[in-house]
Amino acid sequence: MMFAHGFGCDQEMWRLVVPAFETDHRIVLFDHVGAGNSDLGAYDHATYNSLHGYAADVVEIVRTLGLTDVVFVGHSVSAMIGVLALQAAPELFGGLVMIGPSPRYVDDGDYVGGFSRTDIVGLLDALDANHLGWSAQMAPVIMGTPDRPELTAELTNSFCRTDPDITRHFARVTFLSDNRADLAGVRVPTLVLQCSEDVIAPEAVGRYVHEHIPGSVFTQLAATGHCPHLSAPEETAAAIRAFLPG
């Protein structure tokens, strides 16, 4: 099973869910380039100017590790990255779990994504407002300096920190992509996990995804918010377990 974190933090997000699958699955956790402990030097604006850049990384990881029959568990934007990875290399994947997916956040005619353009501008502003804690001195700390734990200890909010410019760009790519047309191409068993009262991926959007992926399973979670794997790890794990064969 391969778990991909969404916009915001990093692979730590999965720590409450992963134990439920460790016993009978090989687990692959990773940070998207630009997030967590990834090599920020590998971040290239042009490559990551679309979700395809991230999807290519997923395929590369799977190939490098020599994996097959992968169940890809993607949260939020990574659910769509999974769709694109499947599109690029369908032979590698055996299942897809989409937690709080949205193929397009911005409203478009009859389609309700939940966000207006003004909302996206507001989001970018919100990111800017939380950027000031970042500085070049902190970068090495955040990128991992195990020999200087005292620095890490001093930091607050460190776990979701990364280069603000990258965060901003990732936000743009996440919230301004439109991958609705890619849904129909998914050919593996797919589970759509829908949270309650999710302001980022409302139920209507989850239903849209479910309706456009042939044969997909839709599971409504009691968990509220956008991160059920944090707020309700047992329920989330159980829903995934129920979806897995055998």
């Binding site: 970018l124 909010n157 302001v199 980022i200 509220t224 918010g225 991160c227 707020s231």
Partner: protein, 754 residues
């Protein structure tokens, strides 16, 4: 994971503050409600279960409206996303967050900038029970921070611009050619503005016609759609000079542009461009060209955040940077051009020197022109055609192509003589107008306009021409022809310097053609005149065989006034004459003609040779003959052999008899044109079988400058001839006494009495 909780830190006891005691002992509930910060507790899903009055007052809602509402619903949309994607995970993972910037939305819809701290209260199993949060108003701080962030971004951008400029300057220092400069400017400016494409377009002004609209020459273009530059040029049109003077200018794809410049707008829209930026490139106030940058919507597939019409991409700092790059480019271009010009001048000088050498060599016009055309296509152009004006219209003595594989196309051109009346063809226009025609862009419309016929059109199309220059060949105020050079798509356009070289060549070629034409005309005229004046062939006479020869001088117009004459006189006698009018030109030839006519007229009375001389001398002033002449007159009776000879300053005739040759001692009297005097006659007999040789001095002066030596050679030649046949004798004498080059005409008359 450690959970941090606020604890009462003790501090000074109440006693120490005297009158403040009652305040400090305030009800904790009041302190909670009216604390100078918002305070609230929520369930793990964000539902607010406790809130203080301060918070309610800030957001303008009573507590009962706030309780039960999820905290994130009180946030702005951006704040909600941040809450879900950052605050919730952080709280779950590390139990506390500090100084999270959030915007609350008040009851009236206005935002309230806040900073929030929060802790997560957990049960024994580490499951979340409650979130406690404190909220501080941070309007002023947020404003300050925004200012800081803006300043930081501005500083970063400024640094980037400085870096760009530094790199431009250092790259330009290493740029030698115009192409180098163009490549630096295009690449660096494109990078600096993250432009989709960039191009450097230079202005070429025709120095001979400063009023003409300047030609635009794209030197380097990266990532620009093919048709965009053309559309831009068409749109700018004659306004270009004005546009250049305006400084950095932005052309945004908006409704105004769409209605005013539909073609340009369509080209921009097709390439998904939103804006063109035009930067003047100048040096010392001279406008050299423009740098064009094409800005697009990022070239990605992301949803547009703003309508493109409203996108204001260029900041003042960007404009200043571009302006500076433009000026740096201008100076570098000037340097590069100076460098290239020096090299080009050396090249041009050597080319013109070679051409001058070629033109100075003696050769006929057709060959000279052809060789020059060969030189032109080796150094200056792809195609070279020379048209010369002639009585038969325009003729094409030279057509050359640089590429031997395409020479057959040029040969096809040779067949198409241009009608002199054509008004469209640049060659004809140059010929008629007497000034250079420079066609900078050759398109199919132009070809159709100038083609003589369909075949001509096909040839010109196949030649793939891009530019044509036609320069008239002018001498002494007349247009003698036209030199036309053309460039094809491989070579690229002509420069002003190329055109100047063509003009210098045309000047030289014009002089050569004029000289050759004048020369040709004079030669043809003299020869025609002389041929008409000489009797075609001597008459057949009873008892005599006669042969005559006339050889013109081999060089130039030096046709002389030599003549011979054989005529049957009234009675049995035959009149013989040879003469030589002084000079070697048309006047001499004309004088000879007159002299012969007068001589013939005199013969009607049957005068003796001496009398002929006397009468001619006496009548010379009346005849207004402009040249003096020598002549020898004789009368011969073929039956008796009686021979009378009189000489007016002319060499004596040779008598060849029995293999022996001698000069007849005819004493010369004064030349014709000299004051009259008594002419002495020689009287004798020409025996049967003997030959009489009459000649002009060209025969004896051909091989030897010394006339006496010449006479000896003549006698020796006559002696060695071994024949008395006049034709054979003539041929023998000429072959013995003359070479390939003759400085003077030769008249030779040989007569044998049977």
């Amino acid at each position: 994971m450690t959970v941090t909780r606020l604890q009462n830190s003790g501090g000074p006891g109440p006693d120490e503050y005297g009158p403040l005691d009652h305040l400090l002992e305030d009800d904790p509930a009041d302190l909670y409600e009216n604390a100078p910060m918002g305070y609230l507790s929520t369930l793990p899903d964000g539902r607010i279960v406790k809130v203080n009055r301060t918070f309610c007052d800030w957001i303008g809602r009573p507590a009962d409206e706030v309780l039960g509402v999820r905290f994130q619903e009180l946030l702005s949309m951006g704040g909600r996303v941040y809450y879900e994607t950052h605050l919730v995970p952080l709280l779950r993972m590390q139990g506390a967050v500090q100084e999270i910037a959030l915007d609350l939305v008040r009851a009236d819809g206005t935002p309230l900038a806040c900073l929030a701290n929060a802790v997560e209260i957990r049960d024994d199993d580490d499951a979340p029970l409650l979130m406690r949060a404190t909220v501080f108003e941070a309007t002023a701080r947020r404003r300050y921070e925004r200012g800081m962030l803006a300043a930081q971004r501005a500083a970063e951008e400024s640094e980037l611009r400085s870096l760009t400029l530094q790199m431009v300057v250092s790259d330009l220092a290493a740029a030698i050619s115009v192409e180098d400069v163009a490549s630096v400017i295009v690449e660096r400016s494109r990078e600096a503005l993250q432009a989709r494409g960039a191009a450097l377009v230079l202005v070429e002004t025709d120095p001979h016609d400063p009023e003409a609209a300047p030609a635009l020459q794209p030197v380097r273009s990266d990532g620009m759609p093919d048709n965009l530059l053309k559309e831009l040029r068409d749109a700018a049109g004659s306004q270009l000079a004005v546009e250049l003077a305006r400084g950095v200018r932005s052309i945004v794809l908006d409704d105004r542009l769409r209605s005013g410049q539909p073609a340009l707008s369509a080209a921009m829209a097709a390439a998904r461009l939103t804006e063109l930026v035009v930067v003047p490139v100048s040096a010392d106030g001279r406008r050299l060209g423009v740098l064009v940058l094409a800005l697009g919507d990022g070239g990605d597939d992301l949803i547009d955040l703003e309508p493109p019409d409203e996108a204001a991409r260029l900041t003042t700092a960007d404009i200043n940077l571009l302006w500076t790059i433009g000026r740096q480019a201008g100076q570098a271009l000037e340097r590069a051009r100076l460098h290239e010009e020096t090299a080009r001048q050396a090249e041009r000088a050597s080319f013109l020197l070679e051409a001058a050498r070629l033109l100075a060599e003696a050769a006929d016009v057709a060959e000279t022109v052809d060789r020059l055309a060969g030189l032109v296509v080796s150094r200056l152009a792809d195609v070279c055609v020379v048209d010369l004006d002639s009585d038969e219209g325009l003729v094409r003595p030279a057509v050359r192509h640089r590429d031997p594989r395409r020479a057959h196309l040029a040969e096809d051109l040779r067949a198409h003589h241009l009608p002199r009346r054509s008004t469209a063809h640049p060659s004809v226009r140059a010929l008629r107008g007497g000034s250079t025609e420079w066609i900078r862009t050759v398109d199919d419309e132009f070809l159709r306009e100038v083609a003589v016929d369909d075949a001509h059109l096909e040839v010109m199309r196949a030649l793939d021409l891009t530019a044509v220059v036609a320069v008239p060949l002018t001498a002494e105020g007349r247009q003698l022809g036209v030199l036309t050079i053309a460039a094809d798509a491989q070579r690229g356009p002509f420069t002003v310097a190329d055109v100047e070289v063509a003009q210098q060549l045309a000047l030289q070629l014009g002089l050569v053609v004029a000289r050759a034409q004048r020369f040709d005309l004079a030669v043809r005229t003299s020869h025609a005149l002389q041929a008409n004046l000489l009797p075609p062939s001597p008459p057949a006479l009873e008892g005599l065989t006669i042969a005559v020869r006339y050889l013109a001088a081999t060089y130039g117009v030096d046709v002389g006034g030599d003549f011979y004459d054989v005529v049957q006189l009234p009675g049995a006698e035959v009149g013989l004459a040879v003469g030589d009018v002084v000079g070697h030109d048309i006047t001499a030839a004309a004088t000879m003609g007159q002299l012969r006519s007068v001589y013939r007229a005199l013969l009607a009375d049957g005068p003796a040779p001496g009398a002929v001389i006397e009468r001619l001398q006496a009548g010379w002033p009346l005849l207004s003959l402009r040249r003096m002449a020598t002549a020898l007159f004789a009368s011969l009776d073929p039956v008796s052999g009686r021979l009378r000879i009189a000489s007016a300053g002319h060499p004596p005739p040779v008598l060849l008899r029995g293999g022996r040759a001698e000069f007849l001692p005819a004493r010369p009297s004064r030349m014709l044109g000299a004051p009259p005097s008594h002419a002495i006659e020689w009287n004798g007999v020409l025996p049967r079988g003997a030959s009489l040789i009459l000649f002009t001095d060209g025969l004896v002066e051909s091989r030897s400058a010394d006339i006496d030596e010449g006479f000896d050679l003549l006698l020796a030649a006559a002696t060695s001839a071994g024949t008395s046949d006049p034709d054979a004798l003539c041929d023998h004498l000429l072959s013995e006494l003359t070479g390939a080059h003759r400085a003077d005409d030769i008249a030779l008359l040989v007569l044998t009495r049977l």
